[in-house]
Symmetry: C2
Subunit: 136 residues, 2 copies
């Protein structure tokens, strides 16, 4: 069940993001949709972090309610939904890249590509544009 008024705690911009993304799963769905070409419920379930079906259904519902993503029936198979970012969702790209950069700097176990940091630092705007262009 979606919290109907979503109990907004304040009008702080940091808090605003937490109202949607302040849990351990939502951002992984965004990641899969943004960087891994995943677009269906079944795709998201396959991720290595092993999200469970009830949590996935709940988070997709909330992301849609917050107008980060929208879904449509797949053209090739009408029993399937295709999830896509809204413009608001696409605007998360700079945040996601900045988060990736921080982890690349501070997590010695990070599996970010070896060239990520230098590519990002030398061409941030280009990388943002490239990710955006790669979303249909």
């Amino acid at each position: 069940m979606i919290r109907n008024s979503d109990a907004c705690r304040s009008n702080c911009p940091i808090n605003f993001v937490l109202e949607t993304f302040g849990d351990r799963w939502t951002l992984l769905i965004v990641r899969d949709l943004m960087f891994k070409g995943k677009q269906t419920y079944g795709n998201f379930l396959e991720s290595e972090e092993q999200i469970s079906t009830n949590i996935l259904a709940d988070r997709l519902r909330r992301l849609e309610a917050h107008e980060i993503i929208q879904k449509e029936v797949a053209k090739d198979n009408r029993s399937k939904f295709i999830y896509r970012f809204t413009d608001k969702g696409k605007d998360l790209i700079p945040i996601m890249l900045e988060v990736t950069a921080w982890s690349a700097r501070h997590d010695s176990q990070s599996n970010a590509p070896a060239t990520f940091l230098s590519d990002y630092e030398s061409g941030r705007e280009q990388m943002i544009a490239a990710v955006r262009a790669n979303l249909d």
Copy 2:
């Protein structure tokens, strides 16, 4: 109690950030320390989102365990601790500013300063440097 091995779900950079910041409170503490000059347990408790004492104590402990912040006894009052960012913590500045920008763009209720977006877009590096310089 801090999860001893913190059950790392994957080596994905997005997931790495979630392991520390994937809840509704931790980032508010970072915000207060980064932008509002708050440095003590009592200061953090005063924020409008009304964090409770047990959650605050737990999150400060985790932030310290993850080496985002460190605490020291206050010089003027030995019954008080002063919390400060580590270098790893200071490196969160670009993420926090990017998050603020996203909310400023997409939350009509946002209380971000009216000039924030234009200042940020025209001088991102300067703003990062300014915030950093403002941390002791």
